[in-house]
Amino acid sequence: MEIDDLPYQFPEGLRVFVIDHDTTQLHVIANMCFQCNYRVATCIVASFTLHLLRETNGRFFYVILIEAQMSDMDSYQFLQCVTQEIKIPVIMMCADNTTSERMNAIEKGACDYWLKPLNVNHINNMWQQFKNMIKLKEYFR
């Protein structure tokens, strides 16, 4: 199915999971997603999110945004598990802009690596990054 065949209101209703141990940043990012009419779930803990995704086989979410330096678990570990087992696009976010970190993320399967602070354009345009990976059938269910 081509991206042009999607209903005109896409990507409204895009289901995003945002993971960040910092509640200030979590709220800001979640609100940016609300502004784009996405449906957002948030969590301050990566390990629980991974558990949830495994239990539900990633059925309910289309994309995950995760802070690169989570405190409860290694975000790159999370990244590898999700991309290998659950196959949902993962975008890493970080306040650091080192090429090595970015390369590491992409190599381990991240869809993209965003420098914080995010602005609403990141959120608005993100679906373009992984349009081929979106589970289109699920979207129309």
């Binding site: 141990h21 910092d22 200030t24 800001v28 609100n31 405190s71 306040a95 914080k116 602070p117 609403v120």
Partner: protein, 157 residues
């Protein structure tokens, strides 16, 4: 009349915060997320930031202080310091706290080069900037509440 005065004062306060480098573009991003459905968004986020950052500053003080006192002068745990600073930098930048963010970057540089004295001095400076910003924002939002709901300029989507 009073309301107009409040609004003028508000505009001047905000302009000054930008002119003096306390706030950057990210603060505007937050303002743009504020709407009728979410009329106090900016103040709520900033209040959340005060709560988070207070906790982080306590952690920082503990990390810096613990290593400076006691019978032996323990080496500073630069890794721990850098981890806390990473989060602090992230949340400060998310509300547009420009000077605080700059000082945070400096502290992290000192962590990377293992400069304990640099860390401590920078931390003191960062704390100063943080306290100054917080005070000004508290005054700003007090005035926002007094001025009442603002007309929101239409912005093409």
């Amino acid at each position: 009349m009073d309301r107009n005065n409040s609004r003028r004062q508000l505009a001047a306060m905000k302009q000054s915060l930008f002119d003096q480098g306390h706030l950057d573009e990210q603060f505007i991003q937050l303002e743009e997320l504020q709407d009728d459905a979410n009329p106090n968004f900016v103040e709520e986020i900033v209040t959340l930031y005060y709560r988070d950052s207070s906790r982080l500053i306590s952690s920082l003080e503990q990390t810096l202080h613990f290593c400076a006192c006691g019978r032996e002068r323990n080496p500073l745990d630069f890794n721990k310091l850098d981890t806390i600073m990473h989060q602090f930098k992230g949340s400060s930048s998310s509300i547009g706290a420009k000077k605080v963010k700059a000082e945070s970057t400096l502290i992290r540089e000192y962590c990377r080069t293992g400069n304990a004295e640099g860390c401590r001095k920078s931390f003191q400076q960062m704390k100063k900037e943080y306290v100054a910003l917080r005070k000004r924002l508290e005054n700003y939002f007090q005035l926002v509440r007094q001025a009442g709901p603002m007309e929101r300029a239409c912005r093409p989507k």
